[in-house]
Amino acid sequence: MKSPTIKNDMFVMLIFSAIILSMPIWLKPLGAGYPDLLQKFAIFGIFAVGYNILFGLTGYLSFGHAAFLGIGSYTAVWSFKLLTMNVFPALIFSVLLSGLFAMLIGFITLRRSGIYFSILTLAFAQMFYNLAYSVLTPITNGETGLQLARGDARIIDRLFSDAGEGLPSTNFFGLEMSGYSGFYVCAVLLIIAFFISQRIFHSPFGIKLRAIKSNQTRMKYTGYNTRPYLLTAFVISGMYAGLAGGLMAATDPLAGAERMQWTASGEVVLMTILGGVGTLIGPMLGVGIIKYFENIFSSLNDQALLQAYSFMPDWLANIMVTITSPFVGEGWHLTLGALFVLIVVFLPGGIMEGVSLIKKRFSKTQANTETGKS
């Protein structure tokens, strides 16, 4: 039997957990070992892994998932303001509320497929984005963004202690949500999220979603009511996005509407495609690459480049700096864009396609040498 077994899945889970939890160690030499960026890796990882359940399995390209990110963030900050600075209830509310909105939006948008579905989801996300600046200002605090204040109610926290001096900070049952402890909370949630996604991928449900992507007409004439399947996938990915949004607010208790802009929806699409649509690990790879470029490449300047080329003769180093400088610093978008074009043109299946090509070639040469021996 070639299909993945439970044992195989457990093995992948173990490796994945080890890699994620040891990120602070192995990312340090790459200059990305600081908590803020590590948290971003984990949070966007959750977002992309969830998005992949919809886009990767069913092929429905949503351009509105940033809306759920925003809903998650606002919900979390409200929970910090009204109830407690503990992130646990905040995250539960984020997931539930974004799931509820996903159900409503999915119910309407999934009546259409293909480009019409994409446009509908985009329309909903932009609607939420603009509402956050206008009608919903009492909830979202408009352009300033929703922030904590000393005078917030925080009913549950008040039961145990008085409002202290200054702003309280978020915690997970006493564990600080900033710094490395915050990263580990996010990382554990990412591992749980990945585990659930893996189970869905290898369940009968997951394979039916793949079948919908492959030929929805056949699915209908095979006795399946496809709409509830799609809606379930949409709601699950919306809840993942809500969790990611909640975590963004948990690590930095500020929610702004820019989080819901269409570029944020586009970013998760790019991450998923870059890594490999419909693969388990792909989206996580995409997140790593894009966030790395955004944070590391963008901070490189000519000085850093000169240092990197210091082994060359001066005249050559100067030429190299002139050539490469448009690609770093503020030009990091150029590098990312070029990389994206290259990957989509040569490896439409993303980085994961490249990995499986290498694997295939490797096993082929191995088989050849084996037959050569015998």
Binding site: H202, P204, I207, A211, S214, R218, Y221, T222, G223, T232
Partner: protein, 253 residues
């Protein structure tokens, strides 16, 4: 008189000014292989499309096991027990052969929707065995894990037939199962059709190849200009002058 499993009553369907089906009446007996023949554009495929809920007729009823099928959605009609093999194979090209057959098996066992999100596929060995068994019958076991999209056209048709058979439908609709096949493949398909005939499954088969029709059919109806002009046993049809006029252009079989 034996049981009537499907009854098409006064069905009309027009596309703009074109009358595709006019006053179509047809009764299908349980356990029989019923062939529908007729010239191109006679309305044969339209008739099947009405039966599976792909098209809504302008008027008339389609009754299956005494239940009206008009207005039901395609998945409800399939769950009621009607499966169809399409003229151009409708399979899941991105999935493996085994998965292609497992999906309809799941539909049969789990119904139109089941949220078994977190169960593992590797625990579904009963479904898997069933799918393997059908693929064995069809003769496609060698490529269990290849993508269905890479199959030849003839193999895709056989795969689609396997996908329908695994559901054990009460009524199987076959739309030109041998169109575009080489003689050798056609003969293989005839053997297959005869083999599944022994299981007592009712079938409606649309076919241009008279060799296939006369090898497998118990009953033949001739459709011309959207209505049945003759119906009877193969021998009746062979000798019917009206049929020869309309369909065979006066030539003798």
């Amino acid at each position: 008189m034996s049981n009537i499993i499907l009854k098409i009553d006064n069905v009309q369907k027009s596309f703009g000014g074109l009358k595709a089906l006019s006053d179509l009446n047809l009764e299908i007996e349980e356990g029989k292989v019923h062939a529908i023949i007729g010239p191109n554009g006679a309305g044969k495929s339209t008739m099947l499309n009405v039966c599976i809920g792909q098209l809504a007729p302008d008027s008339g009823t389609v009754t299956f096991h005494g239940e009206n099928m008009i207005g039901k959605s395609p998945h409800e009609i399939n769950q009621a027990g009607i499966s169809r093999v399409f003229q151009t194979p409708e399979i899941f090209p991105d999935l493996s052969l085994l998965q292609n057959v497992m999906i309809p098996a799941f539909a049969k066992h789990e119904g139109a929707f089941k949220m078994n999100l977190l169960c593992s596929l590797s625990n579904e060995s009963a479904i898997q065995d069933e799918a393997c068994h059908i693929l064995e019958d069809i003769g496609l076991t060698a490529q269990l894990h290849t993508h269905a999209g890479s199959l030849s056209r003839g193999d895709k048709r056989r795969l689609e037939l396997a996908m329908c058979l695994v559901q054990h439908p009460k009524l199987l609709l076959l739309d030109e199962p041998t169109a575009g096949m080489a003689r050798h493949d056609t003969n293989k398909t005839i053997e297959l059709l005869k083999k599944i005939k022994e299981r007592g499954m009712t079938k409606i088969i649309i076919e241009h190849d008279m060799h296939v029709v006369f090898s497998v059919a118990d009953h033949i109806s001739v459709l011309a200009q959207g209505t049945i002009i003759a119906s009877g046993t193969p021998d009746d049809i062979r000798g019917n002058p009206k049929v020869q006029e309309a369909y065979l252009g006066g030539a003798h079989l």
